[in-house]
């Protein structure tokens, strides 16, 4: 059940992130082209900035589900098992606490933001635009809770996330090289 929820949420966040990234890339390419045709779109600066903010927070939520945020796990993984678990638990609680505050105050400012709107798209009020803060903060709390058992298990077993990422990157690159060599062979 928990695994299904995690998978579903991850799929949803992935889809949103991909849509935002593609839209941002298209907006930049379109604006560059139109600038050369002498008709720079007036909405570009504002919309691209909004897209970047949304990509930032949904991307951060995605990275949190995958536990890819920059951290320094060297000390915790070197500690005895009990101390490592206790510190890992404290770290998880601090993350949840921080995002709870962000979600609360992020939501509170929307009441004021709704009276203002984007300059280029007048119907889009700022509460819609800035809702990304409380929404992503809630997602990050859920992501932390869902992936906490794995994080605690890693702390108990002395697994450093940085090293795991490096091993993953090397394995990926080796797979890409093998694929490329195979293709060369076929040619």
């Amino acid at each position: 059940m928990v695994a299904t929820i995690e998978k579903l949420l991850l799929w949803l966040i992935e889809t949103i992130c991909l849509a935002l990234l593609v839209t941002l890339a298209l907006a930049v390419i379109y604006s560059t082209t139109m600038r050369y045709l002498g008709a720079s779109p007036s909405w570009y600066d504002e919309i691209a900035s909004v897209l970047l903010a949304w990509l930032t927070y949904f991307g951060a939520a995605y990275a949190l589900f995958l536990r890819q945020h920059m951290s320094f796990g060297g000390l915790v993984t070197a500690l005895p098992r009990q101390a490592a678990i206790a510190l890992a638990l404290l770290s998880e609680c601090l993350v949840i606490g921080f995002f709870a505050v962000v979600a609360w105050y992020g939501n509170a400012v929307l009441a004021v933001a709704k009276w203002d709107s984007l300059l280029s798209i007048r119907w889009m009020t700022l509460d819609i635009v800035q809702s990304v803060i409380p929404v992503s903060a809630v997602l990050m709390i859920i992501g932390t809770l869902l992936t906490m058992p794995r994080a605690l298990k890693n702390a108990a077993e002395g697994i450093d996330a940085d090293h795991a990422e490096i091993e993953h990157a090397i394995a990926e690159a080796e797979r890409d090289n093998a694929d490329a060599a195979l293709k060369e062979g076929h040619k």
């Binding site: 890339a25 930049v28 970047l52 903010a53 320094f72 796990g73 890992a88 105050y105």
Partner: protein, 426 residues
């Protein structure tokens, strides 16, 4: 006192494995609650949003995506083959190929680890086969990949440009001379070691082979031309250049090299999304920290206290180098830039240091930081590929770190090395 407490709490949080971006946010939150002033947690929520909307930063997700596309679409292997055909005939040529490819390729994407993995997994096994010790192979790969941080396009430079509010284009141009000089010196050291250890040539020089590998790598070589040529000639801005890089990498990967299919494209894009989220959350929470530090007037007090002791830019530069080198040992590059630059900028301005000059210094310090454990992701990745120990590799790496340190000193005390070319932009 506030700066000292902030630093202690931040280090404490990072040491207990709180993600650095969240640790910065917690310090900002605590600071805003505990210090008297106008800003509140409502302001923090607004700062978290507005911190992620800085227009120059739009280049970051696009360069990251372009870099990831290059990593997976066979561009790296073709570049390696071409550079090998071109300079592989020199003694120690494979080491030089490694340096040459890193200078073109590394630090484009948001993950230095992924970049080193892309080139290192091809070159390090080949170097070991040709008689290079595993430590030397790892050391050359690691140091050359880190030097690439100052060769444009570079994500750390874009971050610095946005935070220090200086032109990203000028930073890119300022990195060229130190980058090329550093690459040349790394090659010279490699040549010296190749003579000393009697390392072989990578391959004989064959004009037909050079031509064949050039044709294979032609489209891969158009990438830097499109990105840098477009930006430096003023045809496109840095952000537009990043957009064009994505378009070019897609066209080359899908239609020319045909190494990109839908599932691989999706995977590459998701990696880019994650790397963007990691870097940009740091930027956003640092905006909240900036709110607190500005309210407490920390950067201004720091500048005042130091300028009361000395206003000599040479001494201030030495102090800043020392601070950045120590921080670089414990923090990832992006985190170090985001934490240090807003705090020291008033000091930099007060003693009359050019912010572009300082930007190159900052990025060079981070390059050295990537080579110095405990936090040395590029070195650790190279060691993992070469299956060499970190401390033995660090010993083999000393001459290369020496080159990076020499370039840092040169850039620090001869500003013209970085600034001369920027004069042509006006």
């Amino acid at each position: 006192m506030i700066l000292f407490l902030t630093t202690v709490v931040l280090i404490g949080l990072i040491l207990i494995n709180v993600p650095i971006a969240v640790a910065i946010g917690i310090v900002a939150l605590g600071g805003l609650v505990l210090t008297p002033g106008g800003a509140t947690l409502y302001d923090m929520a607004i700062a978290l949003y507005s911190g992620a909307t800085s227009f120059p930063l739009i280049a970051i997700p696009l360069f990251i995506l372009a870099g990831n596309l290059m990593n997976t679409s066979g561009i790296s292997v073709r570049l390696i083959n071409f550079v090998s055909a071109l300079i592989g005939f020199v003694r120690g040529g494979l080491g030089m190929v490694n340096i040459g490819v890193s200078m073109v390729f590394a630090e484009i994407s948001g993950s230095a680890v992924a970049d080193v993995a892309a080139t290192g997994t091809v070159l390090i096994p080949e170097m070991k086969k040709r008689g290079y010790s595993r430590t030397l192979a790892a050391a050359i790969t690691s140091s050359s990949a880190s030097l690439a941080i100052i060769i444009p396009p570079s994500i750390p430079m874009i971050l610095y440009g946005a935070i220090a509010e200086v032109s990203v284009l000028k930073l890119f141009v300022a990195g060229i001379v130190p980058g090329v000089l550093g690459g040349g010196l790394l090659m010279l050291v490699t040549y010296g070691l190749a003579i000393r250890y009697d390392l072989p040539r990578a391959e004989g020089f064959d004009l037909c082979h050079v031509w064949r590998s050039f044709k294979e790598a032609f489209w891969a070589l158009t990438m830097p031309v499109i990105i840098l040529g477009g930006i430096f000639s003023g045809i496109v801005t840095a952000t537009e250049g990043a957009g064009l890089a994505v378009l070019a990498a897609l066209v080359i990967g899908i239609f020319i090299y045909r190494d990109l299919d839908v599932s691989r494209l999706r995977k590459v894009m998701l990696e880019g999304v994650s790397q963007t989220g990691v870097v940009m959350l740091l930027v956003a929470t640092s905006a909240a920290l900036g709110l607190f530090l500005t309210q407490a007037q920390v950067p201004q007090h720091l500048a005042q206290q130091i300028t009361e002791v000395t206003t000599n830019p040479l001494i201030v530069l030495a102090l800043l180098n020392l601070l950045l080198l120590v921080l670089g040992m414990f923090l990832h590059g992006a985190a170090a830039i985001i934490l240090v630059v807003p705090v020291v900028m008033p000091l930099v301005t007060a003693v009359g240091i050019d912010p572009i000059h300082f930007g190159i210094m900052v990025t060079l310090n981070l390059a050295i930081g990537q080579q110095t454990p405990p936090v040395a992701s590029v070195l650790i990745t190279s060691c993992s590929i070469a299956k060499s120990g970190i401390w033995e590799t660090s010993r083999a790496n000393l001459p290369f770190i020496g080159v990076l340190a020499f370039i840092l000193l040169l850039v620090t005390y001869v500003p013209q090395v970085s600034l001369a070319l920027t004069g042509y932009l006006q």
